[in-house]
């Protein structure tokens, strides 16, 4: 069976959930081979085996942390060629897409981004035009390079003992052209990662700048917090939490929008959520049209009451 390469998304060996999703998808199409670039493999080994990596390629080099994506793209290209991989799966993040773009050119392969599902023959499903259409597509040239959105599939354990192979990569001059001179890790919030969360509570201009009620409800539900661009542009919440066309795309089980009108650019980032709940004081707000449940009312009273009731029910 041909190998499907899965690029491991990790921070110092802490493997992100999206990687487990990719391994689960890769098992459908071939033999999952994890590609671990950088330091910290010891911390990642067990997790990758637990989710079915039949093989792990480990490349350790300081370049991965010192420069933007090119060293990663070069390492992947070398491995894809030497292993004769039938496809490469990468997480759909800004970095993941940059790697995919360069890799596709290096391999002469077709590339598909933002897949929400990948079938056994590597046919993909995507959601396009602000979620208005579902498209099935297939790469027809070379080994497909596919970036997959978080939450495409539920990670399924499939314990294996991966064969480990340490690989050396010689980087080109092009690999060291964009140097990272400073990196400030984002402060931990203690909440789930926005794109991975199964519940997201978002606030917009209607919060008037007070995200307290939004955060309190999110914490009662174990949810991530999101924001509209109006809230971000007002400086009320960091850009990293923006949901929409130029922010994050989320597809949680439950999306709760409070004080958000539902502009197309916002809908583009949350339209495929399973259940949508809306709190807005304007009954004419367009976002009600997509709500499974809506409350016409002031979020400053409705959210705290809901939070209190949830806490009560939780005991």
């Amino acid at each position: 069976m041909a190998e499907i390469l899965v690029l491991v998304d990790h921070v110092d060996g802490a493997v992100r959930k999206t990687t487990l999703e990719l391994l689960t998808l890769a098992r459908r199409a071939g033999e999952p081979a994890a590609v671990f670039l950088g330091s910290g493999f010891d911390a990642a080994r067990d997790t990758l085996g637990e989710y079915g990596a039949a093989k792990v390629y480990v490349v350790e080099a300081p370049e991965f942390e010192q420069f933007l994506v090119v060293p990663k793209a070069e390492a992947l290209a070398q491995l894809a060629q030497s292993s004769g991989a039938a496809g490469v799966l990468i997480t759909s993040s800004p970095e993941g897409k940059e790697i995919a773009a360069r890799l596709a050119v290096k391999l002469g392969s077709g590339v598909i981004t933002d897949a929400v599902d990948v079938a056994a023959d590597l046919t993909t499903t995507q959601s396009v035009f602000a979620g208005g259409y579902t498209v099935t597509a297939q790469v027809t040239t070379g080994a497909p390079v596919i970036t997959v959105k978080p939450n495409a599939v539920t990670p399924e354990p499939a314990p294996a003992t991966p064969a480990e192979e340490k690989v050396a990569v010689a980087f080109s001059d092009a690999a060291t052209k964009a140097r990272i001179v400073e990196r400030k890790p984002r402060a931990a919030t203690g909440r789930p990662e926005l794109t991975e969360a199964s519940i997201v509570v978002s606030g917009g201009r209607g919060t008037g700048g007070d995200f307290g009620p939004v955060e309190a409800l999110a914490d009662a539900l174990g949810a991530a917090v999101g924001a509209s661009r109006a809230a971000v542009d007002s400086g009320w919440y960091p850009h990293a939490y923006q949901v929409g066309q130029t922010g994050k795309t989320v597809s949680p089980q439950l999306y709760l929008a409070a004080g958000i009108s539902g502009a197309i650019q916002h809908r583009a980032g949350m339209q495929t959520s399973k259940t949508i709940v809306v709190v807005n004081k304007d009954p004419e707000a367009p976002i009600f049209a997509m709500a499974d449940f809506g409350v016409v009312g002031d979020l400053h009273t409705v959210l705290p009451q809901a939070t209190g009731e949830i806490r009560k029910r939780q005991g």
């Binding site: 933007l68 897409k97 773009a101 596709a104 602000a130 208005g132 130029t246 009312g297 809901a306 209190g308």
Partner: protein, 261 residues
């Protein structure tokens, strides 16, 4: 310094966007088009650099069918110095790799380019891959997702907010930089700008002018294909209640009934 800013002509996102039934490509004929909103930020950034320095030339470049030069016109009205429109019947249905190859050839033909500025994604295809592919073809550094940019005669310094960290990146010129909508506030063309744009030069180049083989681009050479397009069913509106002092309780009841608590 010479800056090329990439501007894509796209169907209006606020109107109905569709696919051409014959070949499942984006319908660019029966729709209103405009300069991709996210490319306005690249044009604005180029103009800011031009205004801050001496002898900075800004060239707007687009690849697209007849009519796509409307995107150039907007860029010229905002303040770009000249425009290049790559248009050729063979280009219909080109995928991202082919688009990047053609744009790379056009940038090479423009010549002596120090900086290529692009949007973070086109608002129609929205793959966010063309700038990195372009950099790969040109053998240049690419910094994407840039929210803050400083340019010297020899290098760029960029800040970008990633998923796990905020990063500062340095790259020597020439380089490709893709900017986000956080970087600036694009200007509206002034009356003076609109009048001046009429006299600015726009060149039209074909694939032959670029020395790109027509067989390497277009639908026939696409490296991926759309098998099926299905319109997503409109979401049916569910129950909406008006808060009469119990809105929050009702919300919690709904969440409990749906097993979220």
């Amino acid at each position: 310094m010479k800056i090329v800013t990439l501007v894509k002509h796209v169907p209006d996102a606020t109107a109905d966007r569709t696919f051409t039934a014959a070949d499942n490509t984006t319908d660019r004929v029966g729709v209103d088009g405009l300069l991709s909103e996210l490319d306005e930020y690249a044009v604005e950034e180029a103009l800011k650099i031009a205004e801050a320095g001496d002898g900075v030339e800004v060239v707007a470049l687009t690849m697209g069918p007849d009519g796509a030069d409307a995107a150039l016109k907007k860029a010229l009205q905002m303040g770009a110095d000249s425009g290049v429109h790559v248009v050729d019947d063979s280009l219909h249905g080109s995928d991202a790799p082919a688009t990047a190859r053609v744009l790379a050839a056009a940038i090479t033909k423009v010549g002596d380019v120090d900086l290529v500025l692009t949007g973070m994604a086109s608002t129609d295809g929205g793959m966010s891959v063309v700038p990195a592919m372009l950099a790969e073809h040109l053998g240049l550094a690419h910094v994407g997702f840039v929210g803050e940019l400083a340019v010297s005669d020899t290098a760029v310094t960029a800040r970008r907010d990633g998923d796990v960290a905020s990063e500062t990146i340095e790259a020597a010129l020439p380089a490709v930089v893709a900017v986000t909508d956080q970087i600036n506030e694009p200007r509206y063309p002034s009356f003076k700008g609109i009048m001046a744009a009429k006299k600015k030069p726009v060149e039209t180049w074909t694939l032959a002018d670029l020395g790109v083989d027509a067989g390497a681009v277009g639908l026939g050479a696409a490296s991926s294909t759309v098998r099926e397009v299905v319109k997503r069913p409109e979401r049916a509106q569910g129950q909406v209640v008006t808060d009469e002092g119990d809105g929050g309780t009702k919300l919690a009841e709904f969440l409990a009934a749906q097993k979220f608590i």
